[in-house]
Amino acid sequence: MTAIATKAIQVTSLATIFLRELVVSSVAVARSVLGAKDATTSAIIAVPIGLRTAAGVTTLANCVSLTPGTTSLHVSEDMSTLYIHVLDAPSADEVIASIKSTFEARIKEIEG
């Protein structure tokens, strides 16, 4: 019973963070659209992921698609790497670190 409750809390917190990130990302897109044309430096970045289940990877890819400046492009066949397209990438490591800390850690918790 408590296990279900913890899981429910984890899922809710993930959903809340996801909604907040969606709003932030739309504002970021708006800023980069209305700003200077040359400001965007897009890139394709490989993000190593450590999720076991297909559902977890799908959730991560969906979350990444709707968060600031990133869209998932491809998942390698062994589910170990997620290729993302980044709208404005000053540094690849920063993007990877933010995805890992915001979403992957939480999805891992839910996977158990």
Partner: protein
């Protein structure tokens, strides 16, 4: 009294949603290539449509209508990234090149073709 609040809230929400839709389409117009345009359509466009559907849910007195509107929001939030992902993957696999402003391409050659 509650009607006054819902009227103001609905008005604010639909204007915000329409503004996001406009930003998304201006993004389609101004951004340099397909992959970056997809960012605008898949984020700002989705949020715009969702905010306007939420406005309907706020406005109506009928719970059946409100729950259908929220179901529509959830459906749209789930499907928009999937269609964007599929389209980007298909375009990459078909060899549409990245823009000159792109700084990295870490995707291995022909990775997108393997599982098709």
């Amino acid at each position: 009294m509650t009607h006054v609040i819902t009227n103001y809230l609905t008005g604010i929400l639909i204007v915000i949603g329409a503004a996001f839709a406009l930003v998304a389409s201006v993004g389609l117009l101004r951004l340099p290539e397909f992959y970056t345009r997809m960012h605008a359509a898949s984020k700002a466009g989705t949020l715009g449509a969702c905010v306007m559907l939420i406005a309907v849910a706020v406005y109506t007195d009928d719970t059946a209508v409100a729950s259908r509107a929220l179901a529509g929001v959830i459906f749209f939030l789930l499907t928009a990234p999937i269609s964007a992902h599929l389209l980007a993957k298909a375009a990459y696999a078909a060899g549409y090149p990245l823009w000159e402003g792109s700084v990295h391409d870490e995707m291995p050659p022909r990775a997108a073709h393997k599982d098709e």
